[in-house]
Symmetry: C2
Subunit: 275 residues, 2 copies
């Protein structure tokens, strides 16, 4: 049994999922991972290819194709595809034997050991997640008003999901009702739902360690009074999250972690080609 990791991507994001998974493995060589892929319509060839890739790097891929029945009453549109519900309702699709799982966005690279997150005590919480606290209080205040929350606004890109607790406490209808009620008013649908409905049952973890927004090196450094310099980040940060519209697999990506991402993409490509 490896450490279970949840991912939910469509075909367009498989290339960066591979980079993320390779970085996870290279920085956690002593661990094995069971990668649970929740998806709707990725074709068999792409799944087989991803399975082979995972075998090459020493992971075990478990693809789970979602039967859409559960979403028959779900508000769904191009803007709100049913995939937005996968991580909030993961407990519906994953084996009962799993009591918790780490969820990771594909636009992440892992650069240190995930062990401390995996071993975190989340008894009584639904999720552990980080908020991008470097953001101004103004952004936080707007989200408080918008979503009627009192906590920081959590980013849903990295989660430790307490599946046992979710099975007992999360009902799909409360999620669908909330989305229906909000209509077009959600900005980042799944993240907004996570915050609006469950923020008071989320264990907050430090974003500089567990969900580092790569656009904000200078802010992290400033707010830590210089402590979180590049040496600190490379030694301590576990998940570098390439948030936002600028993506490091594109040309002319300008943020300072770009070379590191691009190098991981090359390493991952080589594994793929068997070089």
């Amino acid at each position: 049994m490896g450490i279970p990791v949840l991912v939910t991507v469509d075909e367009n994001y498989i290339h960066c999922l591979k980079v993320m998974l390779y970085s996870l493995k290279l920085n956690n060589l002593k661990q094995s991972f069971d990668i649970y892929l929740l998806h709707r319509n990725i074709n068999k060839k792409a799944i087989d290819n991803l399975k082979t890739y995972n075998e090459k790097i020493g992971n075990n891929l478990i693809p789970i194709c979602i039967n859409g029945d559960i979403f028959i009453n779900a508000p769904s549109s191009e803007r709100y595809p049913q995939e937005m519900y996968y991580r909030l309702l993961a407990h519906k699709f994953l084996p009962e034997s799993l009591s918790k799982i780490i969820y990771l966005d594909p636009d992440i690279i892992v650069i240190n050991s995930i062990e401390k997150l995996w071993n975190l005590n989340i008894d009584g919480y639904l999720f552990a997640a980080a908020a991008h606290t470097w953001k101004t209080d103004i952004a936080n205040n707007i989200n408080h008003i918008r979503l009627k929350t009192k906590t920081d606004y959590f980013n849903s890109g990295v989660l430790l999901i307490n599946l046992e607790e979710c099975r007992k406490n999360i009902r799909e209808n409360e999620i669908f009702d909330y989305v229906n009620e909000k209509g077009d008013g959600l900005i980042l649908p799944d993240q907004d739902v996570l915050n609006a409905l469950y923020s008071n049952r989320i264990l907050q973890i430090e974003d500089a360690l567990w969900n580092y927004d790569v656009r904000n090196y200078k802010s992290y450094k400033l707010f830590s009074h210089g402590e979180y310099d590049m040496d600190w980040v490379m030694k301590n940060t576990v998940f570098l999250h390439f948030c936002g519209n600028d993506k490091p697999w594109k040309k002319n990506y300008r943020y300072r972690f770009g070379p590191l991402y691009k190098h991981y993409a090359i390493l991952s490509n080589r594994i793929e080609r068997g070089e």
Copy 2:
């Protein structure tokens, strides 16, 4: 038999030699390497440690402690330590069975396959080396006058050494005589000697591929009319050379390849600690 790689460091540089060797291996997984370490006085404990480290990453370390007799007539001082002669006279110390070898400075990381350099045809040349051609012509002209050369000024940090040809053509006394004659007039002693005595027998290789000066990303990009952007470098460049006094293992290193170097240092440290 692995690909032979020559290194010559003192104890202070072992930490970065390890980073270089790890990056060499990670980016050339299908190759094995025989690492020839020419040294004068590295203690047994440090050598044993380096041997174990190399075994862990799948390399074979062959330490060669230099008997100083050959340098009895060599001009030598604090400014001109005898180590400066090691790479020019490597053919004196290495097994006769080796016909060529790749020399690498320790302040390098390898990010792609070295195969094309290893397979380069250097028949009739003593060395293959790169010049930092992005430098202004003025610097090149000064070196022409200073060292009476007609070629570009070669950097001695990455060399493919044609040992067979060196055995036939390089005499230690011509080197010692040249250094004696110049007195204190050499700026970078071994590099100056390489250029002054042998530049017309060096096969020039492209620095952007084989000896990329990490301080000059913008110049490379400019002189290549935009072609050598970050994607190009990550895909094509083989040796990133952290030239100059600013070193990436120090705090507050400011160049853009710093995060990549620091990450390799962390990966290498983990191997060292058996994590």
